[in-house]
């Protein structure tokens, strides 16, 4: 009895899934790889060369990073549009988390569009790969640095709180107690990712 109006159900489920896999996993990998900057420019640049030299790199990027992020981001914008935040009237904790999830989603998506253009697309156009020096140079601009900090904080919050949503959407966190415990755990994921991401950024400063 499945009909075409069940598409939105599958799109929403796909939206929830892509947020954690591959996007969430990629974010953790991305922070980790960038942490190689702590060993200095040569080590970092050699890691960039390693990733650029992977077989099928464009295919991996397009299928596992670009398409999932574009889908998650654009469908997310539609989800934001279908909601009507009401924290002024109902200032409950979860309601604030609901609103923050939407705000951080928009901020993170805008940042990612800029970030992918500046560090990848422009490189593809000019043939000049991203390097420790080029990142360091662009971060000299305080506006770009602030945008990076905001982007990292937003993406980290969005992932942690999104994981809590994921646990509910997939029927894993059901009871009140388990939801409370898992929401604390997801809060720790958010905080941990924020520290992880900002630390990676600090090695370029």
């Amino acid at each position: 009895m499945a009909t075409q109006n069940m598409y939105s159900f599958f799109l929403r489920r796909l939206h929830s899934l892509t947020g954690v896999l591959p996007i969430g996993a990629f974010l953790a990998e991305h922070f980790f790889t960038n942490s190689f900057a702590m060993f200095g420019p040569e080590v970092y640049n050699s890691k960039v060369e390693f990733f650029m030299g992977l077989p099928y790199i464009i295919l991996i990027e397009v299928c596992l990073i670009w398409i999932p992020i574009l889908f998650h981001g654009l469908y997310g914008m539609y989800i934001v549009f279908t909601g009507q935040a009401n924290v002024t009237r109902y200032g409950f904790f979860r309601n604030w988390m609901y609103l923050l999830q939407r705000i951080t989603g928009i901020v993170a998506f805008c940042f990612i569009v800029y970030h992918v253009y500046a560090t990848r697309i422009s490189g593809l156009l000019t043939g000049q790969h991203v390097s420790f020096e080029s990142v360091q140079q662009s971060l000299q601009n305080p506006l770009i640095l602030v945008f990076y900090v905001l982007g990292i904080l937003s993406a980290s919050y969005h992932l942690g709180n999104g994981m809590f949503g994921f646990l509910i959407t997939w029927g894993i966190a059901i009871g009140e107690k388990s939801q409370r415990a898992l929401s604390i755990l997801c809060g720790c994921v958010s905080a941990g990712m924020m520290v992880f991401g900002l630390a990676a950024l600090s090695y370029f400063a």
């Binding site: 109006n5 489920r13 009507q84 609901y98």
Partner: protein
Amino acid sequence: MSEKQIKLKIKRQETPTSVPYWEEFVIPYVPGHNVISVLMEIQKNPVNAKGEQTTPVVWECNCMEEICGACTMLINGSVKQACSALIDTVGTDLTLAPVSKFPVVRDLHVDRQKMFDALKRVTAWIPIDGTYDMGEGPRMAPKDQEEGYQLAKCMTCGCCMEACPQYNPRSTFLGPSPISQVRLFNLHPTGAMNKTERLEVLMEEGGIAECGNAQNCVRVCPKEVPLTKTLAELNKDVNLHGIFGFLKK
């Protein structure tokens, strides 16, 4: 000693399409008043705070014991049942407005038909009518009876719909209350015979996937229906049916 008063500011609207306006009233304080009995005082003597003769304020109510769900309104900005809102609890400075998610009939009286339509859409009953006596149904486990009872307390008052950020004119979301009733009727051994149909409605446009997990519903529910737990349970059921169901085809 100055006489204690109850001050009211009420959002009024003459017809479903006319422009709403605010009108103020002052009535003497009497111990034990609730919002409905205050409105009854205005009905007895419809004179506003300026001393002008006006029309009595219209509202809807039935049971007066928080069981019918008819008197839902915004009391000082938050959604609750007017009958169980005691003046000694909500205060003597009151702002009353109709709930915003349903069309106004007049003043504080709204039309909750959308909720009843949603209950019809999810088959929130157990179809047993037929042309012959089918005998007794299967027994229900006491554990399931207890869980079902919590969900059966829902009185379709619409508080959860009012507080839900995903239930609004821009979305097709069925809302927390009608969705929770799917669990009630799927729990019942006879009702479970239509389980698939109900779950498939939840997979349609406006179904359970549109829940935004703001969890306001469970916080404002006057009957303490475990709405968020129920929606999470249904998420599991719907996913198992929707995703693994395809693999059976």
